[in-house]
Every structure is written in C-alpha cells, then in structure tokens.
C-alpha cells in the first residue's frame, strides 16, 4: 500500500471507470458552460424584439432561428438555460440543507420528536403538489409571478421531503453503530456526534440524491412553465410557447426542437451521472 486512500478515493476510482457517468458529467458541464458564458462572449441578446425578423428558420444571422417576436432564438435558449439550471441547482441546494438537517435531527433524537417530525413530512407528502404550488404562486402578485423566487420556493418545498426521509433512514442506522456508541461513551455531546460521526457518513448518499434531485427540479420547473406558472424565460417556458404556435400550415419546428433537445440531453446526462455516483458510492460494491 503506497499512499493512504481515503474513503472517497475508492468511490472516485470506480466513478472514473464508468464511462457513461463521465460522459454525462461532461455534457452537463458543457451545456452549463455554453449557457453561462456563450451569450456574454458572443454578445447575444435574448430580449430585443424585431417584428420584421419574426419566425425565421435557422440560418445565417440567427443560428437557431427567431421566435414570434423576432428575438434571436440561440440567445433565448442559452439564457433560458441559465434560468433552468440555476433554479435546478439552487432549489437542490436548499432542499439538501433543509432536508439533511431535518432528517438528521429527526433520526438522531428518535422517539416522539421523530414521530412528530415524520408525521409532518407524511402530511406534506400527501398534499397534492400542484395545489401547493398554485397556492404559493397566488400568494405573490401578478407581476412577481414571472420571477424565479416563488417558483424556487415551491420547488424547494417539495424536494426536501425525500431528502429528509433518506437522511433520517441513514441516521437511524448510524446511530446504533458501535463507533457512535464509543463516542457517546466518552461523553461526546450530541452536536459533536452529529457533525463528526453522523453527517460525514451520510454525505455519500446525500451527494447521490442531490445529483438526482437537480434534474427532478428542472423537470418540475419546466412543467410549471408549461402550465403558465413558471418563470419568464426558461427551457420549459420556451417549450410552452413553441407548443402554443404549432399549427399544420407552418410548423415552426425550431422553436420546439432546440429547447427540448437541450432539456432532454441535460436531464439524461444528469441522470447518468447520478446513477454512476450511486454505483460508485454504494457500499455493496465496495471491495
């Protein structure tokens, strides 16, 4: 044994061998890079309308065509991607933070606290998701509704539930492990045990679930946009608009194609990467 290998390096090696997962990660990185850097680099403008250029198919001047108001579609798709991805990652981060803390506390203390906390989660699970979202949207005024904030809230509100349950399950098991008992026998306080022993050992499964939450959030956001409840400009929004103008005479196919392709590709890639992560971290596969 030449050098020490941390518990992560085994997982890292396994992940590195999974070509599908790596490809997924690469694609996501590429798409993210394009969405965030290309518009600034190329000076693209998603907002300027130009009725004379309406509904142009892809060609020189407008690589992906234009939409009904003459706006450059490449710009709109890329900037829309920024929003979709941002909401995806941000809502995931929020759900991780809330879910992990909630699940850890519930699982660690157990007993009545756990019962009450989990009943609350069960209750929220039972509430129809759309109902919640509409409720939240209605809380905001007409103008605020196009903004990311209410959407972000609605999405975050749903995703943390799964994370909390997953973390609680892990914590319940870990709590009885002998190394935790050993720490308690030394007089370690609850906080010490939770942060030193419990949380580092759920980090693996949390990472995996977080990676799989991102595409889930993006899809939810797209769905909301499709229903008209989403943000002003995102992939889902673009798809919704595109579907709105589909007609048998002039199919403005490029309006639907580009955001759909990007959406599908990103989601697939995230899922492949998440699956690969899960395989890499799964203790069953370890040595």
């Amino acid at each position: 044994m030449s050098e020490s290998r941390g518990p992560w390096s085994d997982a890292y090696r396994r992940l590195a061998r999974n070509r599908l997962a790596l490809a997924g990660a690469a694609v996501v990185a590429l798409v993210t890079g394009l969405c965030f850097f290309l518009p600034a680099l190329l000076g693209l403008d998603p907002a300027t309308t130009n009725p004379s250029l309406a509904h142009l198919p892809p060609g020189s001047g407008h690589l992906l065509g234009t939409d009904g108001l003459g706006r450059d579609y490449l710009a709109r798709v890329l900037v829309g991607g920024q929003t979709s991805l941002l909401i995806g990652f941000a809502a995931t981060v929020a759900s991780v933070v809330v879910g992990v803390l909630y699940g850890a506390i519930s699982g660690y203390y157990g007993g009545r606290i756990d019962e009450v906390m989990m009943r609350f989660v069960d209750f929220l699970y039972g509430v129809p998701y759309m109902f919640l979202v509409i409720l939240i949207m209605l809380l905001f005024s007409e103008t605020a509704r196009g903004n990311p904030l209410p959407v972000f809230l609605a999405l975050g509100l749903v995703e943390w539930l799964t994370m909390a349950r997953v973390v609680r399950g892990q914590v319940l098991t870990l709590r009885e492990r002998e190394f935790v008992l050993a720490a308690r026998l030394l007089g370690a306080g609850d906080l010490h045990v939770i942060f030193r022993h419990i949380l580092p050992n759920v980090a693996g499964i949390v990472t995996v679930y977080a990676t799989l939450t991102v595409p889930a959030v993006i899809i939810l956001e797209s769905f909301l946009s499709f229903l008209g409840l989403g943000v002003k400009l995102s992939w889902g929004q673009l798809v919704a608009e595109a579907v709105g103008v589909v007609n048998p005479i002039r199919s403005y196919w490029w309006l639907l194609l580009w955001p759909s392709v990007l959406l599908a590709t990103t989601l697939l890639s995230l899922n492949f990467f998440g699956d690969g992560l899960r395989d890499a971290v799964d203790p069953k596969a370890r040595r």
Partner: protein
C-alpha cells in the same frame, strides 16, 4: 480507592415487549476486583451483552444497583456521570462497525483525548496517539490510514488503543475477539494479557467461547437465561464444574484434546426464550439431572466454599455461611 472496582447488585434489565417483557437480565450480582478479569460466558439470550451495556449506561436498568469504586453510577448523559466516563471503556465485537470509516486512525484514537481533555494541544495529542499505537502493536505509520485499509485484527487493535486513550481502569470487552480469525484471536488475546499487566487493568470479558475464557480470566460467571448459574475461580470451575449447565457447556465445546466431560452431561433441546423462561429453575427443561423439585422452585444462588457460587439444588447441602466472594 477500594479493592472492589465494580459492584453489581441484583441487576435486572427488562425490555418492554408484547405480550411479555423480555427479561434479559434478572437479578444478577457480581463484583470485579482491581486487577482481575471476570469472564461472563453464556449462549444466546443469556443476557451477557445486556449486562455490559447496562454497566456502560447504554441501556437503562430496570432494577438493582451498579457501583463503580464505591459510588453509584448515574445514567449516561447526566453530568454526574462525567468523572466516571474515562474510568471504564468498552471494546465491541465488530471491528468494522467500531470505527468511523471517514476518520483516519489518528483521528479515531485522538478523539477520546479531544473530548475528555480538550485543553491538550494537538502536538501532544498526536504524540499520545502514536505511543498508544505502539503499545497495542500497531505500526505508527498507519496513523494516516483509514479503517478500510486495515485488517480486522489491526482494526481491533485501533479500538483497544482508542479505549486506552483515556486511561481507564476497567475495560469491558464484548465478544472482542469473536469476529476474528483464530490466529488473529491469539494475537489480540496475548495483547490483552500484556496490557493488563502493563496498565494494571481489570477486564469484564464477555464471550460465548469457553476456550478463550480459560486463557484470560481469573474468575468466571456462567450465565443462562438472564441469571448467573455458577461463579468461581477459573481453574476450579473448569476442573470441577458444579452446575449441570456448566458441565453441559464444557461437554459441548469441540475440543482438540479428549479431556472432555462425559457425553451424558450434554444439554437436551433448545434454549428457551428470555420472554418466557421456564418455571422454577430455568435450566430444568434441558437439564440431564433434573428432579421433581426443579420445575417448582427457583434455586437460590448458594454460596459454596472456596469463593464459589452455584444456582442449583444439587449443591444446596454444601453451602457455607462464609462471606460472599
């Protein structure tokens, strides 16, 4: 500093369950004196692990008293327990689950010092860890490794080092060598014997393997279904067991040498459940020497000469009025 380090009196641990509570430990009494090793042996359901956990405070006691060095032990978590924490430590059976996979060996062994003596500077802490590692026979260069890079035997050594970091007086070993390969078991047993001398430790050694007991213990307590059925010095107990269950255990151990107790001493049938122990003497359903009194009355834990005790009517006539061992 008294000579009696641990004093357990009429300890009972019952777990609530439906329809009947599980009487894991029922009225157990024993003492461990400084420098001695008491082995608790028994098969499944005898309650030996539960006793260990009750002593450490991991499981609440239903009745009885546990005293360490003369003082009653408050429950774990209460501030009054703090001064006692570093005086007794525990080694668990599964070396895999006993170490945090995310911590290096150094961190794991240093943690006790961090918690109980937070003022100790890092450099000194590390020095102590390395010294402990040498003590338990571990190459100090392994300090930066993670548990999964070590073998089972090495991991168990780390656990022992960790337990010793707070300089305990009593070490409770709960099946500490049971999960190890035979040749590794020997290494760890030798180590425990060495450490006992070097640090003047006392051990409460819990195991199901009688062969290990003979090697390590000064006194032995044989348990069955929540009670101690025989207690005495190791050699005396092994050479001349008084309780039929002890004899059955000894007869059952697969032995390399033919110095075995007669096959007629074997126990029949299955071990009953601790939630529903047999009436009278709990061993009567399997005892090869059972007679009519056994199912009706529960025998007391008779005191016998030479610091021995036995819970069986067969020895009742020999009991002495000497002081309890």
């Amino acid at each position: 500093m008294t000579d009696t380090l641990l004093d357990v009196t009429e300890l009972s641990v019952h777990f609530p369950a439906v329809p009947l509570p599980v009487r894991a430990v029922d009225g157990v009494s024993f003492a461990i004196h400084r420098g001695e090793t008491l082995a608790l042996v028994g098969e499944s359901g005898c309650g030996k692990s539960t006793i260990a956990r009750a002593i450490m405070g991991l499981v609440p006691k239903t009745a009885g008293d546990i005293r360490f060095d003369g003082t009653s032990m408050p429950p774990l978590g209460e501030p009054a327990r703090r001064p006692l924490l570093s005086r007794l430590q525990m080694i668990f059976q599964d070396p895999d689950a006993s170490l945090n996979p995310r911590l290096t060996i150094l961190s794991s062994v240093a943690e006790p010092v961090e918690i109980t003596e937070p003022k100790v500077p890092r450099a000194e802490r590390e020095a102590r860890v390395l010294a402990l590692m040498s003590d338990v026979g571990l190459d100090p260069t392994l300090a930066g490794r993670y548990p999964h890079e070590l073998s089972g035997g090495q991991r168990q050594r780390v656990c022992i080092a960790r337990a010793l970091a707070v300089r305990p007086e009593l070490l409770v070993c709960d099946e500490a060598v049971s999960a190890l390969d035979v040749s590794i078991q020997a290494q760890i047993l030798n180590l425990l014997v060495d450490l006992r001398e070097r640090y003047n430790l006392s051990y409460l050694f819990i195991t199901h393997d009688l062969r290990v007991v003979r090697h390590l213990a000064t006194r032995v307590a044989v348990m069955y279904l929540g009670q101690i059925v025989e207690l005495g010095p190791t050699d005396a107990l092994f050479d001349a067991p008084r309780h039929p269950y002890t004899r059955a255990l000894l007869a059952a151990v697969p032995s390399l040498t033919k110095a075995k107790v007669a096959a007629a001493a074997r126990a029949r049938g299955e071990i009953p459940s601790p939630s529903n122990p047999p009436s009278g003497c709990r061993f009567h359903t399997r005892c090869p020497e059972v007679f009519d009194r056994c199912p009706r009355e529960e025998p007391a834990f008779f005191v016998l000469p030479e610091a021995r005790r036995c819970r069986c009517f067969l020895v009742e006539s020999e009991r002495t009025t000497a002081a309890e061992p």
